[in-house]
């Protein structure tokens, strides 16, 4: 498996920051009450991860080991500030909804985790890919969880898409259940915990199935080889 395929597999599935490392749960749980909110925060996190991984990888030979954590935090904080100001300028409504969770990306452990574990000891190109794939993995979970909660909570998908894609997107909203009375619990924090738990359980079930099948296949292969 090439390095990049390995990085994609790790970021999207095997080492998914939200489902396996369980990093960055605070924003993950707090803003995923709709799909669009999840997507907005996810895109901001992808940008931060790619930029911070790239910068830290570039600087990795100049950062003294003893002072690496403060340096990482400063780099990440600068990037997040840039993203925050840009969002405030171009997606102001969404910026208002996501509120404190945009500046809080600085404290998202997934980002400093990748800087420490990968970018600070690998060349620039793989670091960029690692940041991108980890970001995509995180965003996928944000969008999935946001979609689940929005669907159960208010019976729609992609509501308020205009916050992100402009006025033309006002029609993106899909009403799944007509005349739905709403299920408040899904939109409240407990819904986030229960939803994330269900997604983690689903991933573990799929992994267990795949492992069982592979074990059976390899057993059959060894039996065929010995026979």
């Amino acid at each position: 498996m090439s390095v990049y395929r390995q990085l994609s597999y790790e970021g999207l599935w095997k080492n998914n920051p939200a489902l396996v490392q369980l990093l960055g749960l605070c924003p993950l749980l707090a803003v995923t009450n709709t799909m669009i909110n999840g997507l907005g925060l996810g895109l901001a996190t992808i940008l931060t991860l790619v930029a911070s991984n790239g910068l830290i990888s570039l600087l990795r030979n100049h950062i003294p080991d003893e002072a690496r954590l403060p340096v990482f935090v400063m780099v990440i904080a600068s990037i997040v500030t840039i993203i925050e100001l840009s969002m405030s300028a171009w997606f102001h409504e969404l910026y208002l909804i996501l509120g404190i969770f945009i500046p809080l990306i600085v404290t998202n452990c997934a980002i400093i985790g990748r800087a420490e574990a990968y970018a600070s000891r690998n060349p620039v190109a793989p670091s960029l890919v690692d940041g991108f794939m980890m970001g995509i993995g995180f965003t996928a979970v944000l969008v999935l969880l946001g979609g689940m909660r929005e669907l159960v909570g208010q019976g729609t998908l992609l509501s308020q898409a205009e916050l992100m894609f402009g006025e033309a997107a006002r029609g993106f909203q899909i009403v799944i259940f007509e005349d739905y009375r709403g299920f408040l619990m899904a939109m409240l924090p407990p819904g986030a915990f229960i939803g994330l738990g269900l997604i983690v359980a689903l991933k573990n079930t799929i992994d267990a199935r795949v492992n069982r099948r592979q074990a059976k296949l390899s057993k059959a292969a060894t039996e065929a080889a010995t026979a």
Binding site: F183, L184, M185, L188, I194
Partner: protein, 342 residues
């Protein structure tokens, strides 16, 4: 599994889950009859629907978890959960409300934690709190007692409303429903009306809400039967009712304008069903004797606090769940000393 087969003669003192659950259901009968008398046949429709959904969900979860279905299904624990939840929700509730509550109670509060014996929270109360937080409108449309209602709820009317949402003639839920005594007490006290004046209104009976005092009385009697049969121990109910009585008595003396009398608190809302049937859950409650006293006292105290200063008229469900969370801590600190150990 012959041990689960129920055929006489029973061994004296035989003590297992099915028998205990049957005793609990038997002890609930008088109070259920009283609730049907005061609030109409909707109560029975709720119970039937809740039990059916609970058994179906339980069977499904047991199959998914690859556990033996028949012995666990016939242990009656799902039925007790369903009946307790059905008694807690308003007497005329749409079918989906009951279904959502029961399914959540059985799937999330019971089986995801490992099934009977492993659930840290009381499943019926988890289902109830889910409904109360998610559907506040449906969960607060209680009926007044039948003698005060414009139209007593008969069986056909109850079935029709539960399954189709239709009421006969020009009736609407708004004309049928009314404030519960706890509701009325809370809102009118916030309007600075003194409790003894409020108690003179037609909504109230001898010393508590009309009808409600009798329902609570029959729950109390059923609970005493359970203690007599040794299905539950006296510790939790006595501690809970005692604490509620003492604390409301203290406030009666120092600040009578704050809330109702101790008797009002004891015979209102879910006090008695909570004390004898819900807080005494052997799985989610404390296991040591001293711990049960602390657990019951905590439930009584929190119930009073939520009723008087909280956002909801009654607080038994929240109190039980909050104390469920403390059970591991309580059990840890009240572990009795092993005989002979220092």
């Amino acid at each position: 599994m012959s041990i689960f087969r129920l055929s006489p003669p029973y061994l004296a003192g035989a003590n297992h889950v099915t028998l205990q659950m049957m005793q609990v259901l038997l002890a609930l009968v008088p109070a259920v009859v009283a609730m049907v008398y005061f609030f109409g046949y909707g109560v029975l429709v709720n119970i039937t629907l809740a039990v059916a959904v609970a058994l179906a969900t339980e069977a499904l979860m047991l199959r998914i978890r690859e556990r033996p279905v028949k012995p666990f299904l016939s242990d009656g624990s799902a039925v007790v959960t369903a009946v307790l939840l059905a008694l807690a929700i308003p007497p005329l509730s749409p079918w989906w409300l009951t279904t959502v509550g029961v399914v959540f109670a059985i799937v999330f509060a019971k089986h995801l934690y490992g099934g009977l014996g492993y659930n840290p929270f009381n499943p019926a109360m988890v289902g109830y709190v889910l409904l109360l937080l998610s559907f506040p409108v449906e969960m607060t449309t209680w009926l007044p007692v039948a003698s005060m209602s414009q139209q007593p709820v008969d069986l056909m009317m109850a079935i029709s409303y539960v399954f189709t949402g239709q009421l006969p003639g020009a009736l609407t839920m708004d004309t049928l429903s009314g404030a519960t005594p706890l509701d009325a007490m809370k809102t009118q006290i916030s309007q600075l009306r003194p409790p003894e004046v409020i108690m003179n209104q037609p909504l109230f009976g001898m010393f508590s809400g009309k009808g409600w005092e009798w329902v609570n009385f029959w729950f109390l009697l059923g609970g005493i039967y359970l203690i007599y049969k040794r299905v539950i121990s006296w510790h939790v109910p006595v501690a809970m009712i005692g604490t509620l009585f003492v604390i409301s008595g203290i406030f009666q003396l120092i600040a009578p304008e704050l809330t109702g009398t101790p008797m009002f608190h004891l015979f209102s809302g879910a006090t008695m069903i909570g004390a004898f049937f819900i807080a005494t859950d052997p799985v989610s409650g404390s296991t040591t004797l001293k711990g049960r006293l602390i657990f019951g006292a905590g439930v009584g105290l929190l119930t009073f606090v939520i009723r008087v200063w909280g956002g909801y008229p009654d607080g038994v469900a929240f109190a039980v769940i909050l104390m469920n969370m403390l059970v591991p801590l309580i059990d840890y600190y009240t572990q009795p000393r092993v005989y002979g150990a220092r």
